[in-house]
């Protein structure tokens, strides 16, 4: 993307003035280098989102933005119900509530290193991953309905984890307002045996070492210390969310005309928040959010079981669980007034700053953890929400590195076995059912996650707390 198409407000803030159907400006947070690396389609999508009814303040793109479906991935937009605002299935995506959960192990790198290969093998055996995998449970219809209402709390009640885990999950593990009746029988059938599975593609389970601490006071609150080992789980609502996205995208396309919504692209399919369809989608999407949190809770339990076999004294505690494909009703200040808004974050992480009442008490003084995934070979980061960030993009920040090469280009450049061997040479053990899948996810196919988080920090979206180095990656 040519930065000259934008008005440069600072080194990391770029504005697209409203034109055509845009109701609000587009605002990109990124360094010039990251802007130059973005696809032109990102700007087109930012502008299209800015033209949706009821959008408030601006259509935002995070530093890791890339081309998505309707909304850019790395897109943030808030809508006012009172102003005829919309909810968009495309703005949440097919992988509803995909997110990251990070667990502290209390183990040092010196303790883990001698058993690392055994740990990698055991995690690969224990945590179901890849195409066609099934989880440890086959849910009845009533169990699935309960899960969709109760999220991670359901998993804890079934023995997967501890009640204390819920304290450090967004929404305390339960998204209110879920409506299982708004979820199709097909979506429910698709999920019946997928609870506790990682999935495939860019989903992963990583054992990581905290290699650098940037903000010692926040790291202390997060109980992160250099040289200690953590585990991160990246996955979402599995088949349930995929089918809900499919079902409602179709319904919203069919009904758009009836609501007087003109769509510049079909992928922007949306419905007024106060319409019957909009409310049904909200109920179904929240059910999928609960499914995602329940799923990561079950996987965390499987990880704990695996660690206890190899490191009997290990005590895995939950740092945080945060989703990055959501729409949430939140209160934000707009023009000096507090407003209730429906904030879409597509490939963007909520990043609430210190003092926010939605944060767990243990993190309220320092801001929420923002978990940013890298790729198999590069670093992941823990950031913290900031007070200033609340006014930048409704308390939102980056979610990951973002792809720089297509899957085909990745398989053209790299072979899966060579990637596995090269990463082993760098001390990173890969376990995956598919070598082609590994090649498609080669680290070189991703942007520089360090540049992305630096830009997020410079833009005031979030603050760097710690850098994590991968030791083991189980890839679906």
């Amino acid at each position: 993307m040519d930065p000259n198409r934008l008005l440069r407000k600072s080194n990391t803030e770029w504005w697209l003035a409203p034109f055509g159907r845009m109701h609000v400006p587009g605002i990109l947070f990124a360094s010039e280098e990251l802007v130059r690396a973005m696809d032109d389609k990102v700007l087109e999508q930012v502008a299209n989102v800015a033209g949706l009814p009821g959008i408030v303040r601006a259509s935002f793109a995070m530093p890791d933005a890339h081309r998505g479906y309707g909304f850019p991935i790395g897109g943030v937009a808030a809508f006012s119900q009172a102003a005829g605002g919309v909810i968009s299935a495309g703005g949440v995506g097919f992988d509803i509530s995909c997110g990251v959960r990070t667990l502290r192990t209390g183990l040092s790198i010196d303790e883990v290193e001698p058993r690392r290969a055994a740990l990698a093998d055991a995690l690969f055996r224990t945590v179901p991953c890849g195409v066609g995998s099934t989880g440890p449970l086959r849910l009845s219809a009533s169990e699935l309905d309960d899960l969709m209402l109760s999220g991670a709390r359901w998993s804890v009640q079934k023995g997967f984890g501890r009640a204390v885990d819920l304290e450090t999950i967004e929404e305390e593990g339960v998204m209110a307002g879920a409506e299982p009746a708004a979820v199709s029988p097909e979506a429910k059938k698709r999920q019946r045996d997928q609870l506790g599975t990682l999935g495939s593609g860019n989903h992963y389970l990583e054992v990581q070492e905290v290699v650098e601490v940037f903000a010692p006071e926040i790291a202390a609150a997060y109980q992160l210390r250099a040289g200690e080992v953590v585990v991160s789980i990246h996955c979402g609502s599995r088949g349930l969310g995929h089918q809900i996205g499919t079902d409602y995208l179709k319904s919203m396309l069919a009904e758009a005309g009836r609501h007087g919504i003109e769509l510049p692209e079909r992928e922007l399919a949306c419905a007024p928040i106060d319409s019957s369809l909009g409310q049904r989608y909200l109920g179904a999407m929240r059910a999928a959010m609960n499914c995602a949190m329940a799923n990561r809770q079950v996987i965390a339990h499987l990880v704990r079981e695996t660690f206890s076999e190899i490191f009997p004294s290990a005590e895995l505690t939950l740092l945080y669980d945060v989703s990055h494909n959501t729409c949430k009703e939140e209160e934000h200040e707009v023009d000096g007034q507090m407003c209730r808004l429906f904030v879409h974050r597509k490939g963007a992480t909520r990043a609430f700053g210190p003092g926010h009442r939605a944060l767990p008490a243990v993190y309220r003084s320092v801001g929420q953890p923002v978990l940013v995934g890298g790729s198999m070979g590069t670093a992941s980061y823990v950031l913290a929400g900031t007070t200033g960030g609340m006014g930048r993009a409704f308390g939102s920040a980056v979610h990951g590195a973002g792809r720089s090469l297509s899957r085909h280009e990745a398989t053209r450049r790299w072979k899966g076995r060579a990637v596995v061997d090269a990463l082993a040479g760098h001390g990173i053990l890969i376990r995956s059912p598919s070598l082609r899948g590994v090649a498609e996810e080669a680290p070189g196919a991703y942007k520089d996650v360090g540049a992305v988080v630096d830009a997020a920090e410079q833009a005031g979206l979030a603050r760097k707390v710690a850098r994590l180095r991968p030791l083991v990656c189980v890839k679906g």
Binding site: D39, R67, G68, Y69, V131, G201, R266, S406, S434
Partner: protein, 169 residues
């Protein structure tokens, strides 16, 4: 103009041979039906080409399988039938591919052969495949959904039908 980038084929298969990409209409007819993939920054595009809409739709499904594995590795042990309908050709393609994705996800199967018969905007499809065998199929990635991105169903002046869209993986 970068918008045309996604139109370039990146992986293709023609019945009988996978030779060079034909550019003349006459050559196109000789290598039909066939499927291709086209590039997308984070996901992948599937394209079916045929002498009829039915053939193009069946080939698009073959391209869908090829996102996960080599269709030649899939044995035709079991047949599954689906039916769907839509208001127009393009949404019918999305419906069809999503029906295939749904059957794969719920049956834990992968399909290697597809037959499509459309009557107006109603589609009857039959697919043959087997349960996923991770060792033999080495499935690269799970397909979440067929999308309306880069969605196109069209017949050119030479009678070649194209059915294509991006699938989310």
């Amino acid at each position: 103009m970068r918008a045309s980038l996604h139109m370039l084929p990146v992986r293709r298969h023609a019945s009988g041979s996978a030779g060079t990409y034909p550019t003349k209409a006459k050559d196109m007819q000789h290598t039909l039906p066939r499927w291709e993939h086209f590039d997308h920054p984070s996901d992948i595009g599937v394209r079916g080409l045929g002498r009829s809409r039915d053939e193009a739709f069946a080939q698009a499904a073959q391209a869908l399988t090829a996102v996960m594995t080599d269709p030649a590795r899939v044995l035709a042990r079991e047949n599954v039938r689906v039916a769907c309908q839509a208001p127009d050709d393009e949404m019918l393609l999305v419906e069809w591919l999503n029906a295939v994705i749904y059957e794969m996800a719920t049956r834990k199967m992968i399909f290697g052969r597809f037959t499509v018969v459309c009557q107006g905007m109603h589609l009857d499809g039959e697919m043959a495949g087997e349960r996923i065998d991770v060792t033999r199929h080495q499935p690269a990635v799970e397909v979440k959904a067929a999308t309306v991105s880069c969605l196109r169903v069209a017949c050119d002046g030479a009678g070649v039908w194209t059915a294509e869209c991006v699938v989310d993986v």
